[in-house]
Symmetry: C2
């Protein structure tokens, strides 16, 4: 008998009907001979409603209390789901993150899982019950306070539990059929991939594909836990995320996994930085002190006659204002001349483990962009990824042109819905 961990997002359990539909699906997995553990997010808009309530009573709620508040969301969905499963004649027991043994550090709102001790879950399974676990939450090892894992937290809960229980597979259900070669809303001919490697999925997630969160994929890769991304609204197979190195015969040998894009970043340019040792370090230290996450960085070589250089980098929109403020504070000491801020940008990334051994990928990528009339303002590369920053208005054209140039278009196009998963 195998162990299957299933994770359902908030859109799958948005109302009583959704809860009952998911319950049937869980029972089907149990009837198929599996031991079933289910990780569930808060229902639909619950989290937003709770955040709204918090804002009404305090402009800056303490992290500990915010976590206590938000974890009420999964408590509701998991209890309802356990009831609905029970109503179908199968015993289900719900467990909070703490009861499920999800031990984290004490960083409220963005806690990291440091251990999983699923003793009560294992007991429930051994006694023939289905275990329903609250996603997104855990308990601090030091303070014993309730913590939340931040964005994508429920996916991470599912993979961490699957690893601790040595499950056969971790199924991540959402309203999307799987991982596509590009966002089907932009590229109607985008194909669903049957399989993709951890590495490729990591780059896809980092480059704006919202289907899975980075931390969840990192966790799965570390523990070699196969993830099956699929829709809770259909019975079709989705996309398997596995370690390509295991030499599975059915594994695709595609050069390119897909084209990802991201409109959530802004570009900041520090103009006229004195080209001396340590100036760049002082700039990025100031940003790190302000807790700003930096993505791409480009530094031009200094013009010989001025000995001044420009440094450009991208940050999430949400961090833009704080980044500008942090830089303004050090303008006098560093001595740069001005700052430029541009939030009308987009990032387009070409991802594929195959490009490692295929020369010419970069040239083909840039040629396709040039032919589509797309201007490139920043470039960054890794072994299995090339990313470019372009005008926001040209993102769609860039994605479509690249998708076509690398022969990713499907012969038969299915109607698909492509959206992000919740927490």
């Amino acid at each position: 008998m195998g162990v299957v961990v299933q994770k359902y997002g908030g859109s799958s359990v948005a109302d009583a009907e959704g809860v009952k539909r998911v319950a049937q699906r869980i029972v089907d997995a149990k009837k198929a001979g599996n031991q079933v553990v289910v990780v569930v997010s808060a229902m639909g808009d619950t989290t937003d409603e709770l955040i709204d309530l918090a804002e009404q009573v305090s402009p800056l709620p303490p992290g500990r209390e915010m976590d206590m508040l938000l974890t009420a969301g999964e408590r509701i969905s998991m209890a309802l789901l356990a009831m609905a499963v029970g109503n179908l004649g199968h015993e289900a027991r719900s467990f909070t993150g703490s009861q499920a043994g999800v031990i984290t550090d004490a960083a409220h709102g963005k806690a990291k899982i440091i251990d999983v001790t699923p003793g009560r879950i294992q007991t429930a399974l051994d006694e023939g019950a289905i275990a329903i676990v609250a996603g997104f939450q855990g308990v601090s090892q030091t303070s014993k306070d309730i913590t939340t894992l931040g964005r994508g937290g429920s996916d991470t809960t599912a993979v961490a539990l699957a690893a601790a229980l040595k499950a056969d597979v971790c199924e991540i259900y959402s309203d999307v059929d799987g991982v596509f070669t590009a966002d089907p809303r932009i590229v109607p001919t985008a194909r669903k991939r049957d399989r993709i490697s951890y590495e490729e999925m990591l780059e896809m997630a980092a480059c704006g594909a919202k289907i899975l969160h980075l931390r969840c994929v990192e966790y799965a890769r570390r523990y070699d836990m196969p993830i099956h991304v699929r829709s809770s609204f259909s019975l079709k197979d989705g996309t398997w995320i596995t370690d390509q190195r295991d030499g599975d015969e059915t594994m695709e040998q595609a050069i390119i996994a897909g084209v990802a894009h991201d409109r959530s970043e802004a570009k900041i340019t520090v103009v006229g930085v004195p080209d001396k040792v340590g100036e760049a370090a002082r700039i990025f230290e100031a940003l790190a002190d302000a807790q700003i996450n930096i993505d791409m960085i480009v530094q031009n070589i200094s013009a010989a006659d001025t000995n001044l250089t420009d440094i450009s980098f991208t940050v999430p929109h949400a961090d833009g204002q704080a980044a500008m403020a942090a830089l303004t504070r050090i303008q006098d000491t560093v001595g740069f001349s001005s700052l430029q801020y541009d939030d009308q940008i987009g990032k387009v990334s070409l991802i594929g483990a195959g490009m490692r051994s295929h020369p010419g990928v970069t040239a083909k990528f840039f040629t396709s962009l040039a032919e589509a009339g797309v201007n490139i303002s920043m470039i960054s590369t890794s072994e299995i990824r090339i990313s470019v920053v372009v005008d926001e208005a040209q993102v769609d054209d860039a994605v479509a042109a690249t998708h076509k140039a690398f022969d990713l278009d499907a012969d038969d196009v299915e109607a698909v819905v492509y959206g992000g998963t919740g927490r």
Copy 2:
């Protein structure tokens, strides 16, 4: 520095404004030099909304999951309250029943507190913080599952915590000014009592006064914990419930504490029961097996010529149907002739520790009812209480006449609102 435990009901924290108002009140108690522990119920209609959701997914939800679901309610209110207190510049930490050390038996939906180990609350107080505790909930000693305490549970949580922390007082806040000599909606001249004994309050609660639940008062009496019942909407002193035996000089020496009434019961009469040993036992065994709570019981003496007797008793309306079914099942074996069911009744009770040593109270009570034209259909007495069952339509007249006969009317009548507390 004294320890004060305050309990706020759902109507006091029904919305963000209410939460902020209560937060200010908590901070005032802290500024007055107290260590403050707050027990809070779920906001306004939260519990009803959660029950409604449960009914949508399952007609008969398991008790364990129902408790998991309902406890989300206090989780929300306590976190919001802690945030609101924090916003006023005082540290507050919220704790679930489990975290607060409220240990119960495993009877989901109606668990009993068997121990309180408030180590984390004491630590919070020692560190200068205000502790906010979820009412109504605990954790099972044996299964480690989350439990709820049933109706009036939050009041019981507050008294139990106050006892464990050796608090100076347990303040129970609601939308009522205190304990009145009768329901002011029926008797506009009813007076708020300044003090009342545990015994009297127990009888008042048992006889329909909704201001405090029976279990909470029992707990307070057992641990000799003074309760101060007061309104969260005013700063006026409410009613102190204490042990009269401590000889406090300011204690009132009234003969009668008040007049309580209860419209929540129905009367069942078993007609024509053979007057043999053990017949009554078989009837009440059948009712006990069906988990029916019996209140008053009256058995007439058997008529000499028939050797048959009638047995009447009262049950909560909610148990009426089940009681009739249980009795019908044993009709053939017991051999009674018929059943009568009457839910148009009301119980009026006169309560006062003083009546022990004052002869003539019973006569005066019955005379006042007779003069008001009220017919009595059942009578039951204890050392400090006399209860009668009357027609439901005559309850108001009976309460008013009794209140006047025992000189309970106030000289100055204040506008008051009288209602029940939540859980």
